[in-house]
Symmetry: C2
Subunit: 284 residues, 2 copies
């Protein structure tokens, strides 16, 4: 299997991409992950990502104590490869058969360096076309918000289209509430209000989502977490998506219906760029 | 990592327990699995397990075409190790970053041999105590029924107790409908009716569940798939659980409330034992 590896990987600090099939990350998706951009030699918003990783491990009951190794390993694997994307996975580690966790779990840490994807900066300017997915997100408050490894809903949603001009699909919950994109969080602007869906029942609370909420004061707009449905999307003045790799992407089309790019999205992009070019975003 | 391996494993036919961390089974739980008992040199109900595996791959869009290798590899890994438990995992194989599946996926097949667990035959006679879990199962009709690798709901439910005298926990959906155990399917008997929950919104449709439904005619009782709630459990004449390893386990206690073991459960156990001792269960 190792012959297929085409990217640098560290597993528990070792440069060998070889995970036991007894790892509960494989068997049950029993783990969490973070995806970060490395710019100017710095993994952006590192502290925030580590806070979410820690919260995810706590929620799942994974006794992960090697957080201090992660920054060292992240720097080691990304040095001289700027910009790039860093993926950090923590699983509960190896287990036996059956759902019961081992009494003494030995969590595994996996760090991968991926290429920075093409087209990200262009989409920030030009905006992107998205679609509404038929796949619905199931409710599970115990798992909502964290970035765990059970991602089949997203995999199924992403299979609904293969048009390369559509960059993202939006997902509702079973009751028709808008929740997020397959890989991004959703924001809609109406008047002076910036709103993003409530994620207490399902969805991933993205790091960039929180950053954008915090930047809202400087626009200034009022940031709100609220229930959003399709009419909110149709009536929005501006719509955009966020994640740690894309930053902020204006949405210009939802299922062929135009959305307007607008000044508040651009202002937020500028504020984010300023924050990241300041060189201290990694500490946040 | 390979130093930790304590059980025989074949990955794509190779006796090396080394999976790439780029495998989508790890990254997203993008795969399915089967757990079988090997008795008398035969993986029990092999054909049925393969039918479900195939259905699961189809549902997830995994182009798995190496089913013919699985029986050969299963026999190879279990020869002379009777009884034992066989775990068969098929993932979509390695991928890049992002939910979109590779255009040409190369599914991975993973076969593990596990020890036959202690206490299974005794529980068939003595019955088991179970509990009601607080964890609820989210609805996702697109994933319901198949045995996929997204199993965090079961992991969280199993963490709710560590009393070794409680062997299983029962799970409801968000609306309070009884669905299944963390690792088993649920049956309740009232009068001459044998009922098991509907699994079109969530839950795993177990192979042993289907076998038991088919054996009902010979009891005889009327087998029904229906909505079950807690009062159905409280008012049942008999309650039992099924899976491919335990077979049929009578439930004698739910949260300290006694359930009666009874004649219909015993009759079904006898019918199952006859079927399996006949030596052709593996072909079914």
């Amino acid at each position: 299997m190792t012959s297929r590896v085409t990217i640098p990987v560290l597993i528990n600090g070792e440069p060998l991409d070889c995970l036991s099939s007894l790892d509960r990350g494989l068997l049950y998706g029993d783990g969490v992950f973070e995806t970060l951009t490395v710019l100017g030699g710095q993994p952006q918003f590192w502290r925030r990502h580590m806070t979410r990783l820690r919260a995810g491990c706590k929620r799942l009951g994974i006794p992960f104590r090697d957080e201090s190794c992660l920054l060292e390993e992240a720097c080691k694997i990304t040095v001289g490869s700027d910009p790039c994307v860093l993926k950090v996975i923590v699983t509960r580690g190896p287990g036996g058969r059956g759902y019961q966790a081992p009494v003494a779990s030995k969590p595994a840490r996996i760090i991968q360096r991926h290429p920075y994807p093409d087209g990200v900066p262009a989409c920030r300017v030009d905006g992107e076309a998205v679609r509404l997915c038929e796949q619905r997100l199931g409710w599970n408050p115990a798992l909502a918000g964290i970035k765990h490894l059970n991602r089949l809903e997203q995999v199924l949603a992403r299979q609904e289209w293969d048009d390369p001009d559509i960059r993202e699909g939006l997902l509702c919950d079973r009751d028709g509430r808008l929740i997020e994109g397959t890989m991004s969080n959703l924001f809609v602007i109406k008047g002076q209000t910036l709103a993003t869906p409530d994620l207490t029942r399902c969805g991933v609370a993205g790091i960039m989502r929180t950053v954008v909420m915090e930047l809202a004061d400087q626009v200034p707009v009022q940031a709100r977490i609220k229930t959003l449905t399709l009419p909110d999307l149709e009536q929005a003045d501006e719509v955009f998506l966020t994640n740690s790799v894309i930053g902020i992407w204006p949405v210009i089309e939802v299922d062929k219906q135009s959305c307007g790019k607008g000044p508040i999205t651009r202002r937020l992009q500028d504020l984010l760029a300023n924050l990241q070019s300041g060189g201290d975003a990694w500490q946040q």
